[in-house]
Structures are given as C-alpha cells and as structure tokens.
C-alpha cells in the first residue's frame, strides 16, 4: 500500500511536472518586488515599492536627470518662474498620447492637480491622496492654451519642481479616471515607456512596451513585477532563475551574489539619512556639549561596516550626499573619539543618570534598528552613559516619537527618505516645526539662524543660491548636534549578468526605459 502510494505520487509529479522555467524569456524583465503594489494610481500611494513600478508607466512634467536629484524637462519642454517665485508656467510637449489613446494637454494637467487638491472636484472621491500636501501651496492651475499650463502658488516654494518630479506629480489619463473611477488604480493609463497589461493579484503585474513612447520605445518587450514579501524566498527565486532583478537584498546575501559571476550587484547611495533625535529640552541633551559627546561616542564606522555590512555610508550631517547640488562637501563626520566624549560629558555635568532610548523593531528606511540600537547603547555606556532601551513596533513607535520626546525619552531612532533637501530640515529642524505645531521636530531643536536659512531657501528659485543656503545650514546643524548623524543607506539590487544597462538612481526609483535583456 505504502509503496503503491509513493509510486503513484512520484509518477503523478513526474507526469504532470512541466519543466521548471529556470530562465526567464529573452526581452522580458522579471523584477522581484518586496510587496504587492497598493495601487497603480500614482496620487494614491506612498511606498517606494509602488514608485518603482509607477515611474515606468507614467511621466511627470519634469523628471530627475539620470544619476542625479536635479530636475530636467519631461512632459513639459520648458518652464518659466515669475520673479516673486509664485507663478510657474510650463510649455508642454506636443503630440504625446496617453496609453488609452487620449491626448496629453494642459486640460489633462489641470485635471490631475484639481482631482488631488480640490475637495469639490467630481473625481476627488477616487482618492484618498495622502501625499497631496506636497502641492498644498498650489492655489490654482490654469490651462492657458492647449500646450501651456500655469501654476499659481500661495507663497514662493522652491521645492515645487522636485515635488513635480516625485511620483505624486506623475500625470494620469483623465479619460481613464472618468472611465474607471475608484478602480483607476487597477486600470492605470499614463504616458510612460511601458503600458499596463495585466495585474494578477498577489502573483504578478505585467507592463508591455509602449511602441509610441515619446522618448523612444524601450528594447524590452515587457516587464513583470512579482511581489515576494519574504527576503529569503526572494533570494531563492533569484538563485533559481525565476527573477532577473531583485531589490533590497539583505546584507548577508549581498556577499554571496558578489562572488557569483552569474549575477551583477549594484549599489547607490540615496536621499536617506538615519539619525538619533536628541531631546534638547531636557537633561542631558539640553547641553550642546552632551549632544556632541553622543556624536563622538558612537562608532558609526563600526555600525555601518559590521551591522549594516557596508550597505550604508557614515553620515556627516542632516543632508544626505545624494543631494549632490545642495550637499556641503566640506563636512567631515564626527570622528569616533570616546575620550573626547567623556570630556564633553564631564563639561556638560552629566554623571551617569539613566536616560531612555526609543528603538523601533523595524520600519520604512530603519535598516536594522534593534541591532543598531543595541550597539549604540553599548558605545554610549562605554563613555559612562546609562542608557535604557525601550523597543516599540513601528506604528506605535511613530505614535510615541512624533508628538515629541519631552517627558518620555532622551533619544530616539529615526530615518527619512526625501526628494528635496528642503523636506527633512524644514519639517524636523525648525522652531516652527515643533510637534505642538504639527511638525516633526520631536527633539525641539531651535536656532533662529537655521530657521532663517531654511525659510529663505524656499523663496529663492535659483539653484546655486539655494545650495549656498543649505550648505550653511548643514554646518550650523552639524555643530549644534540636535541629532546624532549615523548613516546614509545605499540602495542595492542584484541582476542576472545577462541584464544590460540596468542602473540604480539616487532617487531610489527604478527606471527601466533603457534596460536590455537580449537573452
């Protein structure tokens, strides 16, 4: 009986088993994603995982120039900015059509922003649009003529252009929104290099080549996105040949892929910063000396090399180097100097009182927060600080940290990924941005000079002028040390060796227009 059964089972599998597709077909790129996309409506989503798809289906008025975080024309051929920085006029590209065949024009642009921003718009209920506040300064969008569109802002807002390059600024087909309503996110239509073809929930999302793409049709026939949530399973798929590209490779496996000539490993630093918020309202970190001491005491190189295994770089200040144009190259990270830290702590009058440190179990951009928190605790204890860790699940953690650390903790882990050098310092380092005013300055840092520089940087639209303001801000903030500046994450990806012209971008978006996979 047992033998019979075994034979039956075995023969069933041999008979039924189709050959395993060890190789993916030529000219089709299979991308391993970390989760199922929420929606393919670019205005409805917030996750990088979704952005990786959307940038290939849609275009915005502007986009990031290859390899940088600087904007260049896309669906807009050119633009002018009024002297007061409050009026942006875009000249649109002619002859572009959405995938559904409708025309791209000024009316379409107006529809996109009105849908997101105006509560009385007939299609506002196809949202919600959680990141619509990126454009909260937009007062009115005017279609001047079919190929000219004007944005009127309520106040000068220099990050406006880079927000337009963000997925929230991508342009969707008004026709498709009218046709599908709330289900537009599953029936997307844009102007991008790839057209949506099929979404098989929890298995795959297929996009095919847009032959009529205005910027040149891609070489690939199709891109297939597969959601595989478990990192180990994603690696196994990659090793067995079921994927051509995978992103967010765990550090442990990166070495394995690096040593295997069948794979190429890519790394790219991005607009990410991992830091510790210090509570500047209460002892000990109300003293600048104590805050600097923490920066000296923590061995960031060891954190980056040992815990993160080289998947991040040591951060020098509040602005990630990926914002090359606004980054202050002269900043050097605080060196690891326990002796100096001890001296500074003595100067601050700290004698070993217990302090609380909020650590999260995991969360967007938080890397390996528990291991990092423990190592930081050990470094601080080595210079005589008495650190008690409290660990929280991510949503709970945000609920404790965002309202401000006063009365709760002396320090907390945090990480941000942004698209403009304005975003993080403006939301988290200004006096106006204290938690009681709805900002993210959970450590209550306040320096009038920094406030002034950040306000001014929003108002000037000339990039080099803005850059000078940000560079000055970084110097002051580094010295004041409201945070411990720890790491800038490098995004990584592994591709099969047969994948050509694959690149990672500092924006962390996955641009697949130029990728080839001939075999």
């Amino acid at each position: 009986m047992k033998k019979l059964l075994a034979t039956a089972l075995a023969s069933a599998f041999v008979a039924f088993a189709p050959p395993v597709h060890a190789q993916t077909p030529p000219n089709v790129l299979v991308v391993g994603q970390i989760a199922e996309p929420k929606s393919l409506d670019p205005h409805a989503v917030t996750a990088v995982n979704d952005f990786r798809i959307l940038l290939n289906l849609y275009d915005g008025l502007v986009r990031y120039k290859d390899g940088t975080l600087e904007v260049e024309p896309s669906l807009a051929e050119s633009w002018t900015i009024s002297g007061d920085g409050k009026t942006y006029t875009f000249k649109l590209r002619e002859g572009v059509k959405f995938h559904d065949g409708s025309d791209f024009n000024a009316a379409a642009v107006k529809f996109n922003f009105d849908r997101m921003l105006k509560e009385d718009h007939p299609y506002h209920d196809t949202g919600p649009f959680p990141l619509a506040f990126f454009f909260s300064t937009v007062e009115e969008v005017i279609a001047e003529d079919p190929m000219t569109v004007t944005f009127k802002l309520s106040a000068p807002y220099a990050p406006f252009l880079s927000n337009l390059a963000y997925p929230t600024g991508l342009i969707v087909s008004p026709e498709a929104v009218r046709q599908h309503g709330a289900d537009f996110g599953r029936n997307p239509s844009g102007t991008g290099a790839y057209k949506f073809a099929e979404w098989d929930a929890n298995a795959k999302m297929v996009a095919v080549k847009n032959e009529a793409y205005w910027d040149g049709a891609p070489d690939l026939e199709a891109v297939i996105y597969r959601p595989i949530t478990d990192a180990n399973t994603r690696i196994a798929e990659m090793l067995s040949g079921g994927l051509d590209v995978m992103v967010e490779v765990p550090p442990d496996s990166l070495q394995q892929f690096k040593q295997d000539e069948n794979f190429s490993v890519l790394e790219q630093a991005g607009p990410h910063v991992w830091f510790l918020i210090l509570n500047t309202r209460e002892a000990p970190f109300d003293s600048k000396a104590a805050r600097q001491a923490a920066n000296y005491a923590i061995n960031k190189t060891a954190l980056v090399d040992n815990i993160l295994q080289g998947t991040a770089e040591v951060a020098a200040g509040p602005t990630p180097p990926a914002f090359a144009w606004a980054y202050n190259e002269t900043l050097e990270p605080y060196p690891y100097d326990p002796e100096k830290a001890k001296a500074l702590l003595a100067e601050a009058g700290y004698v070993g009182e217990e302090i609380t440190f909020f650590v999260t179990e995991g969360g967007s951009g938080m890397l390996d927060p528990v291991a990092m928190g423990t190592a930081i605790q050990a470094d601080l204890e080595a210079v005589g600080m008495n650190v008690k860790i409290e660990t929280y699940e991510w949503n709970t953690f945000l609920g404790k940290v965002n309202p401000g650390l006063e009365g709760q903790a002396a320090m907390a882990e945090m990480a941000w990924m942004t698209n403009d050098p304005d975003t993080l310092p403006f939301l988290a380092l200004r006096t106006e941005a204290m938690p009681e005013n709805g900002g993210f300055n959970s450590g209550y840092y306040s320096n009038p000079k920094v406030d002034e520089l950040l306000e001014k940087a929003r108002q000037v639209t000339d990039q080099s002028e803005r850059a000078a303001l940000y560079k000055e801000m970084q110097e002051i903030v580094q010295d004041d040390a409201p945070w411990v500046f720890v790491a800038n994450w490098k995004q990584n990806a592994v591709t099969k060796a047969s994948v050509e012209d694959f690149k990672l971008q500092p924006s962390f978006f996955l641009m697949l227009q130029d990728v080839k996979k001939p075999m």
């Binding site: 009986m1 047992k2 059964l5 599998f13 039924f16 088993a17 189709p18 395993v20 597709h21 060890a22 993916t24 077909p25 299979v30 199922e36 929420k38 929606s39 409506d41 409805a44 917030t46 949202g127 919600p128 959680p130 990141l131 506040f133 709330a182 289900d183 996110g185 599953r186 929930a201 929890n202 298995a203 795959k204 297939i224 597969r226 959601p227 595989i228 949530t229 478990d230 180990n232 399973t233 196994a236 798929e237 090793l239 067995s240 040949g241 079921g242 967007s364 951009g365 699940e393 991510w394 949503n395 709970t396 945000l398 609920g399 965002n402 309202p403 990924m417 939301l427 709805g438 993210f440």
Partner: protein
C-alpha cells in the same frame, strides 16, 4: 441529522457576531492607526486627521461598527484601504488559495499519518515502529518555516525540480499540472507536523483496539491478519481518529500563515498578517470572519462524520 446540523449552524451565528466585535475592539485598542501607517514619515497630526476623514475613520467606533454590520447584510465587506479593492474579492481569492493548500496538506497528512500509525501499531516495538516514531518526532519538532526554506534550497534552487514560490507559473502555466507542481513543496511542508500528530494518535488508537476481545475472537475465527487489521480494528479506531483530523484541519489552516509567507502562496494567512501590520481594519474583519466561519464548518463536518461512523452517537 438535518435538524442537528441546522441547530449547530444557528448556534454559530452569535459566535461569529461576538468574534467580529472582539476583532473590532482589538484593532481599535492596538496603538497606531491606518493613516499613520500609510503616511509613514509624513504622518503629521494634520495629515493624519485629514486622511482619517477621507478614510471614514473620524466616526466613533460604534458608528463604524454599525456601518460595517449594515453593509455586511448587503454582502458588502467594504473596501480595503491598503489594497484599494473590495475586501470580499480579496478575501475570497485568498481563502480559496488557502483551501487548496490546506486541503491538499490535510489529505496528505491524513493518508501518510494513518498509514504510518497503522504500521507502527501492528509492528509495535519492531524496527519499522522505531523508525516511524523517530521520523514523527523529528517532523513534529521541526519548525515548518525552516523546513520550507530547506526544501526550497534543495528541491528548487539546487535540483530545480520544483518552483520556489507562487501558485502558478509567471508565464504559461495556469492549468492543473502547473498548480500541482507549485503545490508540492508547500503542501508537503504544511502536512509534516499534522502527519506526525495523526500517526501518533492512530498508533495509540489502534493498539487499544487490537487488545480488545473481539479482535482475539476474529483472529481465533481464522480471519486473515489483513482483514483483522483493516476491517475490524481500523474501522473502530477511526472513530477516535476522525476528531483529531478535524482539529488538525484547524491547525493546518493556522500553520498555513508561515508556509504562505515562505512560499509566497497567495493565501489568507499572509494577507491577515500584512493587514494587521498596516491596521487595515476592514480587511482584518473580513478575513477573520471567513476563517472563523470555516473553522465552525470544519468542526461541524468532523462531528457529523464521527456520528455517521459511530452508531453509539446516533
């Protein structure tokens, strides 16, 4: 019998109602809210308040629950805000995938467990019994997610006999052979622990029956050993084994959570885990309701089968 089944089904309704209230309360009590989960770093109080309003979460808990129950009677489980699609579509799709996986695993563990248990009992203290006992102990003690990864490594990555993950091939496929091919590793992994439990209990039940007088009588009558074991002993042992299989059905569906994650099987377990971490209340409610209803049905089914098998219970 029909009356009994109807009574059991009616009794299940208040249980399910109570369950939805408990899930609703637990979801309301755990810290964090969907708007914070969606906005992540950008969760300012202002943004959170606005998004909660857009999501209809600014209403009181009682109002939210009443709206949900009202819609439930119209067959509408609401719309998931993390997946942006109707909860019902997602839950049914996911649950049928889980049923395929768990059903296959249950059939596998029942067959393998019964066979192993019978052999163990008949050859008590023989080498076959010892070998089976050892295997069963290893099987029960092995964490299923670890076994799953190991099987993937050996049979999918190295030997390339089976696919690593998913339910159907990404291109081509989609038919029954393709499904079976994808099902083999996860269903086997999921069945291992239950196989062990069923084997152990079958052994015990069989040993007990084999000691009974009527078995000695049957042997004395000169019946063949095969007939004694399968016709006389196994049939009455089955009465005490069936409820165990019924309980294992529940464990198999529960255990599917890990297996679904490891094999990227698009089932309801992995859906619920994600839904809870993103505070997707409606999706959690819908998922739990369907799983709970299935539990009730499986238990009922096991009881009915047992009643049919055991004349004393009729």
């Amino acid at each position: 019998m029909a009356g009994y089944i109807a009574k059991r089904l009616l009794a299940a309704i208040p249980v399910l109602f109570g369950l939805t209230i408990i899930v609703f309360l637990i979801m309301a009590m755990i810290p964090g809210d969907p708007a914070t989960a969606i906005l992540g770093s950008y969760a300012t109080p202002e943004n959170v308040a606005k998004l909660n309003k857009d999501l209809g979460l600014d209403k009181t808990l009682v109002e939210q629950y009443l709206i949900w129950i009202g819609n439930l009677f119209e067959g509408d489980l609401g719309r998931s805000y993390t997946l942006n699609r109707p909860v019902l579509d997602e839950v049914l799709e996911r649950f049928s995938a889980t049923l395929i996986l768990a059903g296959t695993a249950l059939v596998l563990c029942s067959i393998l467990g019964l066979i192993a248990g019978i052999i163990s009992a008949v050859r008590q203290y023989g080498w076959a019994d010892k070998a089976i006992t050892l295997l069963v102990l290893i099987g029960i003690s092995t964490p299923s997610f670890w076994l799953g990864l190991l099987l993937i490594l050996v049979f999918a990555v190295n030997l390339k006999l089976f696919p690593v993950s998913g339910m159907y091939a990404i291109y081509g496929g989609g038919d029954l052979p393709d499904l079976l091919h994808h099902l083999a590793l996860p269903a086997f992994t999921l069945s291992v622990v239950a196989t062990g439990v069923i084997a152990r209990l079958t052994r015990t039940a069989m040993l007990e029956v084999l000691r009974q007088d009527y078995i000695r009588t049957a042997r004395a009558k000169g019946l063949s050993e095969r007939k004694v074991i399968y016709k006389h002993a196994f049939k009455s042992a089955l009465v005490s084994i069936i409820p165990v299989i019924g309980i294992q059905a529940g464990f198999v569906i529960g255990g599917a959570v890990y297996i679904e994650t490891v094999f990227q099987w698009p089932g309801i377990g992995s859906m619920l885990v994600k839904a809870i971490s993103t505070r997707d209340l409606l999706l959690v409610q819908g998922g739990v309701l369907v799983v709970a209803a299935a539990y009730v049905l499986f238990n009922l089914l096991a009881d009915v089968v047992q009643t049919l098998l055991d004349p004393r219970l009729r």
